[in-house]
């Protein structure tokens, strides 16, 4: 028997994909790092929320019973009920324990669990702010792209100027102006829209209610879109302008592609990246971002709830809302961080 040298003694097989293992590890580390940062931010927000509102001057019991015929005993009873007679460290521990249990406490003014109040009000806020954000983003994207593609033209200048003008206008002022002009009507122009609120009191439900809400939504959403769309417009415009000088676009044109195909299929998708980040961040601000508009239009959302709670201050309510608003931003930041590498391969380290 011939002893053949193990001809096939191949060199040790390399790992299936040379970079895979370390790459998966990198991703996990990245993910883990981001999650840890988010968790630390959330904890910091929770602690801040407690102390922040206790710095506010004023006594909730005195504010709630102001002008009412109450006896000192009643005020003391309320104070006990709210736990305000406890020492501060005790209140803080109760608060932390509650937060960890996801128990948001009971509102002083409404005598109802804060979680219930939030659940009631979250729908209208998301409806208003979500719709507004999406429309503003779409409008800003389209107009920004057009403006950039025809930079320097009259259309570009008009677009940018109008957007910036509306951006600089205070939202509550614009809201009131729209109410006066379009809701109550001036001169020969009849009032086309309701002056405030989310719905009329006597709608039959179903399609009727949906139409009624849509009718009430027009002015608040218009106000929000008007003061916000400039963000998307300007960012999209500058991103597209950045892209416009790129070599690959010159190549595309040289290949003979039509101008708007060059725009739509090549420039815009790349220019969209910063705008996507912006959209994510703004979605995080959906909960707390429309306080002024909600107040002017008496829109029954989280913003107007927060505003009315601050006046007392209704501590469980404003603490919980603060944590909710901040958490939404933190979570959307996290998502934006995670999604961006997926969208843009250049970012993956």
């Amino acid at each position: 028997m011939t002893d053949t040298p193990t001809a096939g003694a191949a060199p040790p097989a390399p790992d299936a994909a040379p970079g895979a293992r370390p790459r998966a590890g990198r991703v996990l580390r990245y993910l883990g790092g981001r999650l840890l940062t988010a968790a630390v931010s959330l904890a910091a927000v929770m602690v801040t929320s407690f102390f922040l509102f206790r710095i506010l001057p004023g006594d909730p019991v005195a504010a709630m019973t102001e002008g009412r015929e109450v006896s000192v005993e009643q005020m003391e009873a309320l104070r006990r009920e709210f736990g305000l007679d406890q020492p501060l460290w005790r209140q803080f521990l109760d608060y932390c324990a509650g937060m960890l249990r996801l128990d948001l406490g009971v509102s002083y003014e409404f005598h109802r669990p804060v979680a219930e109040l939030v659940a009631e009000r979250i729908g209208p806020t998301v409806l208003l702010a979500g719709t507004g954000t999406l429309i503003a983003a779409a409008l800003g994207l389209v107009l920004g792209t057009r403006a950039a593609w025809r930079r320097g033209s009259l259309g570009d200048r008009v677009n940018s100027s109008v957007a910036l003008l509306l951006w600089s206008v205070p939202s509550f002022w614009l809201g009131l102006l729209l109410i006066v002009v379009l809701a109550s009507g001036t001169g020969w122009l009849p009032g086309l829209f309701p002056t405030s609120g989310m719905m009329s009191a006597d709608t039959a439900g179903g399609l009727d209610t949906a139409i009624d809400v849509a009718h009430h939504m027009v002015l608040p959403v218009a106000t929000m879109v008007a003061v916000v769309y400039a963000q998307y417009l300007m960012i999209m415009r500058s991103s597209v302008l950045d892209e416009m000088g790129s070599d690959y676009l010159t190549t595309a044109r040289a290949k003979g592609l039509r101008d708007d195909l060059v725009l739509r299929r090549h420039a815009v998708p790349n220019a969209l990246l910063p705008t996507v980040t912006l959209i994510f961040l703004n979605l995080g601000r959906v909960f707390g971002g429309v306080i002024l508009i909600e107040t002017v239009f008496a829109w029954p959302g989280l913003g107007s709830l927060f505003y009315s709670g601050l006046k007392v201050p209704d501590l469980p309510l404003v603490q919980a809302l603060f944590v909710i608003f901040a958490s939404a931003v933190i979570i959307m930041n996290l998502l934006a961080d995670l999604v961006y590498p997926l969208l843009d391969p250049r970012v993956r380290t």
Partner: protein, 623 residues
């Protein structure tokens, strides 16, 4: 010879066909978009028309705060207590024309000789809105629950503080035993609740009375709907023991912004708006179909002076200016102020200059100083008073007290009350005229409240709404009302005067002699006025407006010259008469349809336009 003008065809591209078909495709898409928009708008019309059917006589009232709780045991907000007055009656209320005690659930009442036992006889044959009989048991249960359960006492516990026992002797007779005689038994307008419904409740601190509609009640209306933070709906109660209201439905709609309320009134979306500013009232005056009601106010506006904050034990605290302990200085301050000027500047004339503690709308208790007692506006006299008392003017015109303290005072003003904000600078000027430097601090109500409770103020703004029975606002100035420790108290001035306390006890015990009680209360006001710690400045008018094409008339309280909203009773609503052709409140109108249709067309059309439109391109670009 007719000339046929050929339809314009865009120049064909180099390859001919694609350009033309592309154009046709674009045109077709645009037409389709237009058709879809119009179709959607058209579809809305029948739906809208269906919603616009009027539902009988409905009144819509604009309110400035949403309801905090529908439970009379818990509710603190004015809107909540106002709604409760319409759906629950108490034993005794206030007459709509005169504010005198008026039988509600009780038709008669009788104190014992020693004033410690009160016997109320309820009307016969009354029913709750669900058909159960209203008996003295319900009243006894309500009072006893408030006495025994601290949650149930949250809102109205002070009414039963002096109660020993409340017992139903039979179906129509309620006997209340007191610890001490009290005249306020004649103003027992605490809502009486149905025992058969409320005795099922476990925890009064949790129960907001908003789980089952209609809510069982005894008043002219019952609560039939509640959209939290948006609206409360009440409907006429056919089982009410009195006249069933002519308005079938009243909707209270929340508006966050006062100006939006006024716009809604102009549009006819709401029927009644209250709490108008003078500017708003002026702009609505004389408008077609709108009636403005100017009523004598229930509130007085005042500032209090820190006379040296102290606890019940006499322990002093805070940092009030020491010179303010001198009555002469305080009286000089009052003498330097021109109340007419305040009325004109802050209220545009819609207020009354005030001196007595009780507003003039309560003629039984209203008091005015006379002759030498009056501290009429007279800066020269004020200057002389201070000169004579040894307050020398320094070189800069600011006086120094005999002890050497410069008269530099701080004034705390609520930054959310435009009338106080308007009046404060005037006070600063007038006091500067007599050599007192005042620093006006416009602060958050929370900051102001803290300053008051810590005694760290000199002058502080305040105001109270006075009920037809003024016992409470008088009681906050007794020595008993001083805090036990520096901290929250119910009053707004650290006032303590033995004579005042004696008179207070006398008026409270004068349950059987209304004239003596009134006389005693007037004497108390004289003491408050003379001491000049609580300086009443104005009684601001209540300004309201309603649509005369929806409401023909409403019962003011008192009559004439009273207010419609925030009454001590339900008279304005239960007695309101709808206008002839009223069609009620909200609902989708023709204008609404036009509005939605326009919005839909704009959005859909605009989206399609932006997406489909191609720039016109030249032939070479296309390549």
């Amino acid at each position: 010879m007719s000339t046929v003008i050929p339809p314009t065809v865009p120049p064909p591209g180099a390859d001919g066909v694609p350009g033309a078909s592309g154009t046709r495709r674009r045109a077709a898409t645009k037409l389709l978009a237009g058709a879809v928009s119009l179709g959607l708008a058209g579809a809305l019309l029948p739906a809208g028309a269906a919603a616009a059917e009027a539902e009988g006589d409905t009144m819509t009232v604009a309110i400035s705060q949403p309801v905090d709780s529908l439970s009379p045991f818990l509710a603190q907000r004015l809107i909540s207590t106002s709604v409760h007055k319409m759906v629950y009656e108490g034993l005794i209320g206030y007459d709509p024309e005169t504010n005198e005690p008026h039988p509600m659930l009780a038709e008669s009442w009788e104190p014992s000789d020693d004033g410690l036992t009160w016997t109320y006889t309820l009307r016969e044959g009354m029913e709750w809105s669900d058909g159960e009989p209203i008996t003295a048991e319900d009243a006894a249960w309500t009072f006893t629950t408030m006495m025994e359960d601290s949650d149930a006492a949250t809102a109205n516990g002070n009414y039963v503080e002096n109660f020993e026992k409340a017992e139903a002797l039979d179906e129509r007779t309620l006997e209340v035993t007191l610890k001490e005689p009290q005249a306020t038994m004649l103003s027992m307008d605490v809502p009486i609740l149905p025992e058969h419904v409320w005795s099922e409740v476990d925890d009064f601190g949790d129960f907001n009375n908003d789980e089952e509609f209609p809510v069982v009640g005894s008043g002219p209306f019952t609560i039939t709907g509640h959209e939290p933070n948006q609206s409360v709906t009440i409907e006429a109660n056919p089982r009410y023991h009195g006249d069933v209201p002519e308005f079938e439905k009243v909707v209270f709609r929340y508006f966050a912004d006062q100006d939006a309320q006024v716009e809604a009134l102009r549009k006819g979306e709401v029927s009644l708006v209250s709490g108008l500013t003078p500017a708003q009232a002026d702009s609505l005056e004389g408008q077609e179909d709108i009636t403005v009601n100017k009523a004598s106010g229930k509130r007085f506006q005042a500032f209090t002076v820190n006379p040296g904050a102290e606890t019940q034990d006499g322990e002093e605290f805070g940092d009030g200016h020491p010179a303010l302990e001198d009555k002469t200085l305080r009286q000089a301050i009052m003498t330097a102020i021109d109340k007419e000027e305040l009325v004109d500047t802050a209220y545009g004339g819609y207020a009354e200059p005030a001196e007595g503690y009780i507003p003039s709308r309560y003629p039984d208790y209203y008091w005015e100083p006379e002759g030498d007692d009056r501290l009429a506006f007279d800066p020269d006299a004020a200057n002389k008073m201070l000169d004579d008392a040894g307050y020398e003017k320094g070189d800069d015109g600011i006086r120094e007290s005999p002890d050497g303290d410069r008269l530099e005072l701080r004034m705390h003003t609520h930054n959310d009350r435009p009338d106080y904000v308007a009046m404060a600078p005037i006070i600063v000027e007038r006091l500067a005229d007599i050599g007192i430097a005042v620093e006006n601090q416009e602060v958050d109500p929370g900051v102001l409240s803290d300053a008051l409770h810590n005694g760290e103020y000199d002058l502080i703004w305040t105001g109270w709404s006075v009920n037809p029975d003024p016992d409470y606002v008088l009681g906050i100035h007794t020595c008993d009302a001083l805090p036990e420790e520096p901290g929250t108290m119910r009053g707004d001035a650290y006032f303590c005067n033995e004579d005042y306390d004696e008179l207070y006890a006398e008026q409270l015990a004068a349950y059987d002699d209304p004239e003596k009680r009134a006389e005693t209360i007037k004497q108390m006001q004289a003491i408050l006025y003379d001491e000049a710690v609580v300086d009443v400045l104005t009684y601001a008018d209540t300004l309201e407006a309603y649509r005369s094409d929806q409401i023909a008339s409403m019962q003011p309280q008192p009559d004439p010259g009273g207010n419609l909203w925030g009454q001590d009773g339900h008279w304005s609503f239960s007695g309101a008469v709808p206008a002839e052709s009223s069609s009620g409140g909200a609902g989708l109108s023709g204008g609404a349809i036009a509005g939605i249709a326009a919005a839909v067309v704009v959005v859909v059309g605009g989206a399609v336009f932006l997406l489909v439109r191609r720039r016109s391109v030249t032939a070479d670009d296309r390549e």
